[in-house]
């Protein structure tokens, strides 16, 4: 079943991140530093993990997120839109 799940595109991922952080759709571009984002906190982090579980075939582990410093790092972690390192 998991293999049939379609991963999110980069645009979908960024739009959902916008929503989690309470930003206007289209705000995040990918280069932003997480520490500069107003609502980036433990609640947003958990929401991100749940979002990835719900939408993406690639699960995100909390300790991996803690090691991210930019939105681009998150995109790579979730292997969105061929961003896998």
């Amino acid at each position: 079943m998991d293999q049939e799940r379609k991963s999110m595109t980069r645009e979908e991922f960024l739009l959902q991140m916008d929503e989690i952080l309470g930003l206007r759709p289209g705000t995040l571009k990918g280069h932003e530093k997480l520490e500069d984002l107003k609502n980036w906190d433990s609640t947003a982090l958990i929401s991100l993990i749940v979002m990835a579980e719900d939408n993406n075939s690639v699960p995100i582990a909390p300790d991996q997120v803690v090691g991210c410093s930019t939105v681009a790092d998150l995109l790579r972690l979730a292997q969105v839109d061929g961003s896998a390192s």
């Binding site: 959902q16 929503e19 989690i20 952080l21 309470g22 609502n39 433990s42 609640t43 958990i46 929401s47 993990i49 749940v50 979002m51 579980e53 719900d54 939408n55 582990a61 909390p62 300790d63």
Partner: protein
């Protein structure tokens, strides 16, 4: 503007209805919160969450579900697993916060000592007593020093069973131990009115243990529950808080065809309705009727709103298998008018607000119409499959109550008697003649211990005939009842059709030779019966006995209490200059010779003991 508000409310409530994806809710949390905060007349509530695990997610979800109920919470959150220390060592931040409600979010992981393997029955019993003593000391301190309502999780089931199926039978097993503790928690709740159980023992079964826990979330964040389980948990707690604030629904309004029975009564006739255990769908309708009947028995008012000829509609209840009978319904609207019109008539007939109604109809077009035209009415998306109706209603927690008192069980009878009164009234030439014929008797007196629960319940749920809409906790009501600085009055009203129960409450604050009325309310079930005159006469009597010469009445307008805007003017009070739009102040100087206002109500002696003043 009104339609924008309707769209907003409808969209928001739809997003918050279970079953809801935790991912969707978490993703939309910020925007939902922003929309919900646009509501007017939110009731503020101070809620302390004392957690045996990380509670950030619980707080976030609880905030959304409370806002959706019209309650705006502010939160205190204990540190991780500091629930007990914060109370027992008196954390000043918690004390300064002065919570109205303390929610204790503990789970089986917070049991301090489970029994050892092979311990005897007596040793296990002692372990139960020790654990209970620890919790009771904690609860007693909250009650004594914070005076808050306590909402306490009982215990969920552990997801691992080291003893296998023996967990279910051995007295020293963890499962058995937790079940015993749950029984003790329940006993405590039965004997403490301000202590309510959040039944996570049920919730974990409903969600399923595999979904209830989330390994990742426990090991990374020490969240006792998965985010998915946090949603029903928060909804359950919000429902309890809602009941504490008297915001639960009162009346279930039901469609008939394909809602209470299969088929169309007008076309098929009663003999061809699908209802009964000899047919799979008929059995599902029977079960739904059984559930509705259970709600009615515990105090939910029932009404019919159907597009039908009335005689056909009524005939459906003569079906031999029908569990519901005509007399179970306190209002019955079977017409061809638009359903929103009938819903308004039902609310008016029962003297309750539209926001007290829940509407169940299998027809999505009718549901959409009522939801659109009457956004105050709760319209659960029950679908068309009758086997799911009860489940959807349950998930909505519409009729959650924090206690059941005798008046609840008699509620249908009161409203049915009202219907008889209305019909009886039509035979009189004038209204006075009708009132005289009712042979009304009122019992009015200072608060009595036996009525304190009912008085608190009435205070926290009466919105229309309520001059100030002030809310009081049970502890405050009890304290006021003992304070000689207050005049308190309750009123019961009976008539030839039955006993209406305790229907009116008044609290006045005494200062020298005057009394200011902090609260005056009356149940709408006795509107236009001159009960307010009887209460006023009793108040004047009390004032005269205490040498009080001046009565100050306060009217604080709300969205719902316009019906009493002229109340004090009608009692010959004079408006004072300190009156403003938000707070209108009136004064009545008690004359040397006071003429009783009551014309049709005979006063009966108080039959219950009053509260002794300190």
């Amino acid at each position: 503007m009104a339609s924008e508000t309707n769209t907003l409310q409808s969209g928001v409530s739809k997003a918050l209805r279970l079953p809801t994806s935790a991912a969707d809710l978490m993703r939309q949390r910020q925007s939902l919160k922003t929309e919900l905060l646009k509501q007017t007349n939110l009731i503020p509530a101070r809620i302390a969450i004392l957690g045996g695990s990380t509670t950030t997610e619980v707080k976030g979800m609880l905030e959304l579900f409370l806002l959706a109920q019209g309650i705006q919470p502010s939160f205190y959150e204990s540190g991780y697993n500091r629930y007990s220390e914060d109370v027992l060592f008196g954390n000043p931040d918690l004390w300064n916060f002065k919570p109205d409600v303390v929610f204790v979010h503990t789970t089986w992981r917070n049991v301090s000592h489970f029994p050892e393997l092979m311990q005897s029955e007596a040793e296990v019993e002692e372990a139960v007593r020790n654990e209970m003593a620890r919790f009771e000391a904690f609860w007693e301190k909250i009650h004594a020093e914070l005076g808050s309502v306590i909402i306490q999780n009982n215990f969920d089931l552990p997801h691992l069973r080291p003893l296998g199926n023996l967990e279910a039978s051995q007295s020293f097993s963890r499962v058995n131990f937790l079940q015993r503790l749950n029984t003790e928690f329940a006993k405590y709740a039965r004997s403490h009115s301000r202590f309510l159980i959040n039944d996570i023992h049920y919730l974990c079964a409903q969600v399923g243990l595999n979904a209830w826990y989330g390994r990742t979330y426990w090991y990374s964040f020490h969240m006792a529950l998965s985010p998915a389980a946090t949603v029903p948990l928060a909804q359950n707690v919000a429902a309890i808080v809602k009941s504490v604030y008297g915001k639960s629904k009162k009346c279930l309004v039901l469609d008939l065809d394909n809602t209470l029975w299969g088929g169309v009564i007008g076309d098929d006739g009663v003999q061809n309705l699908i209802l009964g255990s000899d047919h799979p769908v008929g059995e599902a309708f029977l079960d739904f009727q059984r559930y509705v009947k259970d709600l009615q028995r515990r105090g939910v008012i029932l009404a019919v709103c159907s597009k039908n000829d009335i005689e056909n509609a009524k005939e459906g209840f003569s079906h031999p298998d029908s569990i519901l009978k005509l007399e179970d319904f306190s209002a019955f609207k079977a017409t061809w008018n638009p359903k929103p019109d009938s819903m308004r008539e039902i609310a008016a007939e029962l003297n309750i607000g539209l926001d007290s109604l829940v509407f169940v109809d299998d027809n999505p077009a009718e549901r959409a119409l009522v939801a659109d035209q009457l956004p105050e009415v709760a319209v659960p998306e029950v679908g068309t499959d009758v086997s799911r109706f009860a489940e959807v209603l349950e998930h909505g927690h519409y009729f959650e109550v924090d206690k059941i008192v005798q008046d609840d069980l008699n509620r249908s009878a009161y409203y049915n008697s009202n219907a008889q009164r209305s019909s009886y009234q039509s035979g009189f030439r004038d209204y006075g003649e009708f009132l005289a014929s009712l042979e009304m008797t009122a019992e009015i007196g200072p608060f009595s211990p036996v009525y304190l629960e009912r008085i608190t319940q009435l205070i926290n749920k009466t919105n229309q005939f309520n001059l100030t809409t002030k809310r009081y906790t049970s502890a405050e009501v009890e304290s006021i009842s003992r304070d000689p600085g207050f005049i308190t009055l309750y009123g019961r009203l009976a008539d030839r059709f039955g006993d209406n129960g305790l229907v009116s409450v008044l609290i006045g604050r005494v200062s020298n030779d005057s009394v200011e009325l902090d609260l005056w309310l009356m149940s709408c079930r006795v509107l236009n019966r001159e009960m307010e005159f009887a209460m006023f006469d009793a108040l004047v009597e009390q004032c005269q006995a205490r040498g009080i010469r001046k009565i100050v009445g306060v009217y604080i307008p709300s969205k719902k209490n316009n019906m009493v805007a002229a109340h004090y003017a009608g009692l010959d009070f004079t408006g004072l200059s300190e009156t403003s739009g938000d707070r209108q102040v009136w004064q009545y100087d008690i004359p040397q010779t006071y003429s009783m206002r009551t014309r049709f109500i005979r006063r009966a002696a108080q039959t219950v003991p009053t509260v002794a003043n300190d």
